[in-house]
Amino acid sequence: MFTYTIRRLMFAVPTLLVISFVIFALLDLAPNDPLGELPLTIPPEVREQIRASMGLDQPFLIRYLHWLHQFFVNEPLNIFEQLTGITVGDGERMRVLSWATRSPVVDLIVQRLPQTLWVVGMAYVFGILIAIPVGVISAYRQYSIFDQIGTFITMVGYSVPTFFTGIVLIVIFSSYLQWFPSIYDTNLVVNDWASFVQQVKQMVLPVTVLALYNASQIARFVRASMLDNLSQDYVRTARAKGVKEKVVLLVHVLRNSLIPVVTVIALGVPTIFSGAIITEQIFRVNGLGQLLITAVQGADIPLVQTLTFIFAVLIVLFNLIADVLYGILDPRIRYD
């Protein structure tokens, strides 16, 4: 298993390099422009100068190598310096700068990470927490009323877009009932009970919207997997031993059913980091999703490139984690 992991990690390096190049080429080819959002009153000559100041006048390959150097050499060195306080070289090196904000991309990402993890991550966790019992009961009582309603709700949850559920929730709970705020305060620091309550309140709506969507998908998987396992012989063995029904279901069947589900869940984790663009926008969570979409719309190539590359790393990594997890959870699987 260990050598397998090492081997996969080694193959990941060339893969990621190719991915980074393709992303860069794609972004370069894309017709949107970093100056697209500036007022039309700025004349063309000035626009040309702004473009030059962003380095856009250089050839494509140079810009790519530049980015590679900044991302793989300068940024790690910078992190190293910050952590240890040791200065390497003269300490003067160009970091990856966003064109829109003119600030280091990595700092932006670090700044956005907390709210994304809180809201999108929490929604993922809640989604899973809802999905598993729903899936388990739906499978255990297949074709019962609960199962039918569960299927219906999960399908509706999947088919109604979040931009719609989000607005419905805001109209009901923020405008009409005034229970929860419709705008997420990213500056809120949780340091006492009152601020904690406030944090919970502002998370309720976005988390609900996203959790519903996540739960819909995962519940389908849990149900299918439970159905597969419920008919296995070992379930009968457990019953023949006189094991309580609850234990049979929750220990024997669920543990087995969760193996494929866990990998599905692991594969979904990178999507947390890509944020939830629409939901973040509706509730102004301003996490990584919002960062990415504004960057894409503003053609902020360094930011988009860095974000998507980190995302690619996560995808490759979690792909590997999913495979390894499978091997760990299921003792039958050996990769060597």
Partner: protein
Amino acid sequence: MTSNASDKSPILRVENLTTSFRVNGQWRSVVRNMSFSIAPRETVAIVGESGSGKSVTSLSIMRLLPRSSSKIEGKVLLGDQELLALPEERMRQVRGNDISMIFQEPMTSLNPIFPIGKQIAEALTVHQDISSAAAKAEVIRLLEKVRIPNAKGRFDEYPHQFSGGMRQRVMIAMALASRPKLLIADEPTTALDVTIQGQILDLIKELQDEEGMSVLFITHDMGVVAEIADRTIVMFRGEQVESGATDDIFHRGQHPYTRALLAAVPRLGSMKDRSLPLRFPVVDVQSGEAQPMAEVTDTVAKTKTPILDVRDLTTRFAIRSGILGRQTGAVHAVEKVSFQLFEGETLSLVGESGCGKSTTGRSVTRLIEPSSGEVTLDGYNVMGLDRTTLRTMRRSIQMVFQDPFASLNPRMSIGSAVMEPFIEHRLGSKSEARDKAADLLVKVGLSPDMMSRYPHEFSGGQRQRIAIARALMLDPKVIVADEAVSALDVSIKAQVCNLLLDLQQSLNLAYLFISHDMAVVERVSHRVAVMYLGEIVEIGPRAAIFENPQHPYTKKLMAAVPVPDPSRRNIKRNLSIEEIKSPVRPTGFVPPVREYRQVGEGHLVQVA
């Protein structure tokens, strides 16, 4: 139903047990009016064809059938408790405590993701207030009792790390954990090879002596019944047709079906003075009359060049590890195997599980790429063929696989499955294919109108015949029959063997017959090769191997075969319970050069 052993009050009494399933909205009874009882320390066997309701009977006693789609009527008395009327919670306490069960499929009946120690311990902890340390000690004691070597070390291992026979022993340990009054063992040995089967039967007998429990033993293997049961119940199509002392049943069976069953039992040594294969007697289940057996003629064309000539065939599976996946060793699955097969001849390949029989069969057709050796088949030099010629070559040699169900695509009607090779090789039009398939289906004893059905709609024996029909579709010269009959119950086994013999008579086919069932091998083969750890240790005419085994392994194999003779019951074989040796060798291992000694005409034995 009275019983001559019921002077003591019985442990279990079943009265008028009727079990029905709801199929497509209608109730259909699959077990009707079963009544029997089991006395303390008694072993009762239930025999019957596949699908006759044996497993359902046992599951009904345990109330383990799906509640929504099954209905159990009658009475099941454990002592004086009426099990069918117990509330679920009380019934749960009976299960695993008073009655334990070993299931038909040891491979799938263990939870794959829990260590076996934990699974056995669970059987203890659900019924007793016992500390986990004590439970562990008890489990290790049980594991030792079922002769799992190094029980302590294997406590935390997972089911897949055990061989089939060991898993079966784990199941037994689990069933015995709570010292039940009654053990229900549902075909615990069917899928195992003879040596392991022997070990398990010995073990059950021994434990019965020690713990004093009663056993309800379900099987379709009459040899096993003869060996283990005090009394025998015969089931036929959901009904109990006969019951009595095993001896009576074997020698004075009344019901025609009982006789049909017994007639079909192959007996080792029954071929003593024959040189040619022999058909199984066919008994009509309604009348119980045996039809006369037609003798077979000698089909072996010794004079011609062999149709299949294998020289020094070696197949190894690399074992890779390390960062770069360097090869660190290899499974020497087939090692320098040489044999010849003539037209119209049956060569049987026998040997314990994992000795390389299937691999040999597959290497010959390059379904598995051999590492070295020479194979000449019907004039083709198999090892040197390119992809296209390989496909054409495969027309000459066809396989019948170990598991007929698995070898048929579940989503393809059997008509298309049989026709497919013919069409694929463009041997004729679609309607010609249909005609030929219909013809072959008739030949193997099926009717052409079954062509639109799917594999799951057939019984095991029928599926095996479909597989044979498919193999014949291309007019092959050689058929590799890989355990083609092992999983079948006796009467169907007899049918299939007879069919193979008939086909050999009419089409002059050559068979490479792979099996671990020595009784069948004895009946159908002209010559026998014994494999051990990838090598042929002994090869020769059937009579010579069976009557004059020379190699120690051949002798051991012969000793393990159960004998369908109740009078020889309670004779222990005292088989050693050593582990199966591994054919894994490190890289750079040079296999020793083997010498063979000639014992008789064509009878060679490996000298170590």
